[in-house]
């Protein structure tokens, strides 16, 4: 049976993580930027799962579970913030959210 080196999973996670970073940098829509953060979290989750497999440790998987919960909570708050922002500024474009600056 052909096995997959764990390093590949890790590299896949790294790819996703960096695409997440890139998306954060490039996207203008606040909601999409938030999604890219979710993407980064997912990448980390994959890393966790891969390591959990490596160490035969269930705690890695449980960590992922908690990350999901946290992500849900963050999503609730984050989206609320986005709504508040939209109400105040009538825009979702981050480039237009720059009142606070030098």
């Amino acid at each position: 049976m052909i096995t997959v080196p764990i390093a590949y999973y890790l590299i896949l996670a790294a790819i996703l993580f960096c695409i997440g970073i890139a998306a954060f940098l490039i996207k203008r829509n606040v909601i999409t930027i938030f999604m890219s953060i979710e993407l980064m979290l997912n990448a980390v989750n994959l890393t966790f799962v891969a390591f959990a497999h490596l160490w035969r440790q269930i705690s890695g998987q449980i960590f992922v579970f908690f990350v999901m919960v946290v992500a849900a909570a963050e999503a609730a708050v984050g989206l609320a913030i986005i709504i508040a922002l939209f109400r105040a500024r009538q825009t979702l474009n981050v480039d237009e959210v720059d009142l606070l600056r030098n």
Partner: protein, 168 residues
């Protein structure tokens, strides 16, 4: 078999992620993200994390992403405009991201031989199911985090109420 799965869903995940990046409408990006999550669920499964695979589909793709899409709809977000807000993001950020990727790959590749490979399916002993193991750990050694998470959720609710409540 495993390799096939990995390549297939790995590529799908990367493609989804890239699609998220390149799509200009948030709905499309959200759907791409769902694709990524689904692919990852398969990979979790192939790594022996059945419970997580399910949770990924249910919680992440099912709940969180729905929330996203709901907000996108609520705020009636349209396509992104191409505004030129930030040069730094391209000058410093993208090379930074690329560098991070290179560094991570470098580390993983150089440690590759010490990490070994995966075997398909559960790595735990067949006697105990994945879910049983998780729930046992969750209610013993990791009881406190589990309980404290409730505070987190409480705050999230409170915060969402405070922030999104329409008044003044």
């Amino acid at each position: 078999m495993e390799l096939v799965l990995f390549i297939l869903f790995g590529l799908l995940a990367v493609a989804g992620a890239l699609n998220l990046l390149f799509q200009r409408h948030p709905i499309n990006s959200a759907l791409s993200l769902v694709v990524v999550m689904m692919s990852l669920a398969v990979l979790y499964w192939s790594l022996g994390a059945e419970f997580l695979a399910a949770a990924q589909v249910i919680v992440y793709a099912g709940a969180i992403m729905v929330l996203f899409i709901f907000v996108v709809m609520l705020l009636n977000a349209g396509e992104e405009e191409e505004t030129h807000g930030s040069k730094i993001a391209y000058i410093a950020g993208i090379p930074g991201a690329a560098a991070i990727f290179c560094l991570l790959s470098f580390v993983f590749l150089s440690e590759r031989s010490r990490l070994g490979s995966t075997g398909l399916g559960g790595y735990l002993s067949g006697a105990v199911s994945n879910i049983a193991e998780i729930s046992h750990t969750l209610f013993t050694t990791l009881l406190l985090p589990f309980e404290v998470t409730s505070i987190l959720i409480l705050i999230a609710i409170l915060g969402a109420v405070v922030l999104a409540r329409k008044e003044l």
